[in-house]
């Protein structure tokens, strides 16, 4: 029988002497608070503010001011992020308009509106950040997660597993990817991804291997690497990169996400972006990402760079010309 945990029966002055000396901790951790049932899928309680976020408000106000200036969004300079409805609570998958967050140039492989939900578009962050009470974008992610995962989010999981009938109107939905889940190593994922593609090819042809390119960002102290073959659209790539590099741009996001914070943040998103994603192609030229169809892109991309929008303005005309010449 384990020693009783303090707080079970509302008795916080339990036998554990450590706690009694930490009276200051008592004021920070209110009794029996904060342990509300959390729905990590954001289904029933879209405004589930962590009730232990006692001192978050002032930080919220402070971070509002910095958000616009420090936010990382990927898109062409001067472009606007599409409007998003912050109250899109529990809309069905079909009615949710999956607009791209990063208005990359239209490309032939149709970024957004397909029923193929290989990702949750319009999200800046993945599933695990829903749970991360520090992330101020948690609410946004939860709302969109909820909408697009309505199928698998059935609370009772009544139609779980082989008998999942809810989603029959769509082709088998790909799940929104939680970081690091399922726990499959990346080299294993790469193999499977490339094998899946080669299933369409003639038997006997070996598939392409993983394609790692370095990603640098102006001002960041170190590089990251991404495997381009683990993505199939620009959307996935830009979401992943944004998540990776957000630590360098977002200033003080430090509070538990509240509804009002995410709304204002959404508004800020509309006012254009600060960073753009560029790549160096086989000829050594720097181009804006999004110019060309995805397959062509991964065939010619040698490395990626996230640069300030102002630095990238000169790229646009050359990029357009080049793609014209190619086509």
């Amino acid at each position: 029988m384990p020693p009783p945990l303090l707080g079970i029966d509302g008795d916080d002055h339990g036998h554990v002497s450590l706690m009694t000396s930490a009276s200051t901790m008592e004021s920070i951790f209110p009794k029996n608070a904060g342990l509300t049932e959390r729905n990590y899928l954001g289904l029933s309680d879209s405004s589930s503010v962590d009730s232990s976020a006692v001192s978050g408000i002032s930080d919220v106000k402070r971070s509002n001011l910095n958000l616009k200036a420090t936010e990382l969004r990927l898109g062409l300079p001067g472009s606007q992020s599409p409007e998003r409805d912050p109250d899109a609570d529990l809309v069905s998958a079909e009615s949710l308009d999956e607009k791209p967050l990063f208005p990359l140039l239209p490309s032939k492989d149709g970024i957004c509106s397909g029923s193929q939900k290989t990702f949750v578009s319009g999200n800046k962050r993945g599933f695990s950040d829903v749970n991360n009470k520090v992330s101020s974008c948690a609410q946004t992610t939860m709302i969109n997660d909820a909408a697009s995962k309505v199928v698998s989010q059935d609370q009772t999981h009544a139609t779980f597993g082989n008998n999942n009938k809810v989603n029959t109107s769509n082709p088998p939905a790909a799940k929104a990817q939680v970081v690091g889940w399922p726990p499959v190593r990346s080299f294993r994922k790469n193999i499977l991804a490339t094998n899946a593609k080669t299933n369409d090819e003639v038997d006997g042809k070996p598939g392409p291997t993983a394609l790692f390119v370095k990603v640098s960002m102006d001002g960041a102290p170190y590089l990251r690497k991404v495997d381009l073959r683990s993505y199939t659209t620009y959307q996935q790539l830009s979401s992943a990169l944004e998540k990776m590099f957000s630590c360098f741009t977002l200033g003080q996001c430090g509070s538990q996400g509240s509804q009002s914070l995410s709304e204002s943040k959404l508004r800020d998103l509309l006012h254009g972006s600060e960073y753009v994603l560029t790549y160096e192609d086989k000829d050594g030229d720097w181009m804006l990402v999004g110019d060309v169809p995805w397959d062509l892109f991964i065939g010619s991309c040698k490395r990626l760079k996230i640069m300030k929008g102002s630095d990238a303005i000169g790229l646009a005309p050359r990029a357009m010309e080049k793609s014209k010449n190619r086509n």
Partner: protein, 580 residues
Amino acid sequence: MGYSFPEEVLEHVFSFISLHTDRNAVSLVCKSWYEIERWCRRRIFIGNCYAVSPGIVIRRFPEVRSVELKGKPHFADFNLVPDGWGGYFYPWICEMARAYPWLEEIRLKRMVITDESLELISKSFKNFKVLVLSSCEGFSIDGLAAIAANCRNLRELDLRESEVEDLSGHWLSHFPDSCTSLQSLNMSCLLSEVSFSALVRLIARSPNLKTLRLNRAVPLEKLSTLLHRAPQLVELGTGAYSAEIRQDLLSNLTEAFAKCKELEGLSGFWDVVPFYLPAFYSVCSRLTSLNLSYATIQSPDVTKIITQCPNLQRLSVLDYIEDTGLDALSLSCKELRELRVFPSDPFVADANVALTEQGLVSVSEGCSKLQSVLYFCRQMSNSALTTIAKNRPNLTCFRLCILEPRAPDYQTLEPLDHGFGAIVDHCKQLQRLSLSGLLTDRVFEYIGNRAKKLEMLSIAFAGDSDLGLHFVLSGCESLRKLEIRDCPFGDKALLANVSKLETMRSLWMSSCSVSLGACKWLSQKMPRLNVEVIDEQGDLDSRPDSCHVEKLYVYRTVAGPRLDMPSFVRTMNQNPAYRR
């Protein structure tokens, strides 16, 4: 009365004691045993490179021949540890190069090792024999070329699952013609081509080569050439197992495999063309180890293979094997010790294969020696888990991953508490457990009460409250490593069990509800723990104490807080007095 017994005799006795845990116990008997033991210890294992410093190790053990080090926490495998976190080998090699001129073996796991370090290894140790880099990164082909060129007596070079920067350039040709000592070469993780002629020459002059794992770039057409040069191989990893359909190629390959009378283990098998599978059927009856986890072949093909392998002990396979294949496995492979079933399409909501909990139940029934399981599936039930537990009380490692987080028992829709409870109840020797599915605090009560031999526990999307964590920390006596993600565990359990943390190697908690204030408090209370907070949002200093940390990594150490952290990692309460 130790001094009346000649040291040489004791030393000779100690030379028979190889397990590092036994060695540690020996050193605690008395001061003279401590002294004798430390001078004759030849192999050291450091499970957390930050738990101790190179200086401390070298001071205590001056005559070491073999070093094994582990760096990043296990969840780094799943991209939960950001790049730049740490785990650098360089400080170690700098000091060891000076202190251990007779070092023969280096084994690293999840560490960052540079070309510079590799070059230092190759030039510092005259008798260097074994380099194993498991899930490491930070180096390129150039570093490998240095190892090849300078290590005259190299016996083993194993790069398993490391990330090697493949610049152009062939490194195999750097092995001098005089190098004939190679016994084991694993380059399966390399992405680019190697010079085939250099490879053939190397193999031809290595009569003791027992293990050869090729990379995907080595084409199937060339495999028979290699096999002819090395018929003594015991373990073979093929390259891509595909080619145009050609009867002559199949015959050549079949003949080549037939000549390998010692072959016991097979791996590789990328891009399999089923036409070529029969080429190695002649080897199947001898196989003890088979890794088909990259082979996207369907159940009938897989079944055809494994039904010919009665001596199989270790099998890794994709879920294409399906329940029918696992049924066949349970009937054919009575020697099976270890089974790993990986998901072919983990990100699709609906099942793409007919693999359910039933497959694992069958194997648990038929394979009486089964000890270790890693199983990815989409549905599970309490009754299946209970059956498995009752069938296989000899399980030592049970890792179940139900792909959907918080999936309940698919039949009753209840949590899977009872099922996992049965596992820990029946499998009394269980050392490693990974949980998944819908789980309440109750499962942790079972684990805390029953899993007394459990050393490593992995938890994701489970539990209701701090009580769950408290059960584990207060109940699992043998716990060494605990890793948790996305669970509603907060400060209470952690702070109520602080002394437990010093008995463990490490604790990882990410996306939980631990506050910054609790981390600070923990670190003040327990100076021999490093309480590291990883937070990529930036600017921890201005956060309120009530703020939840993104990721927490706590480990015991005698080396004090580390000094090589990136900006997004902070050790709480860095007290300079504890620096080494």
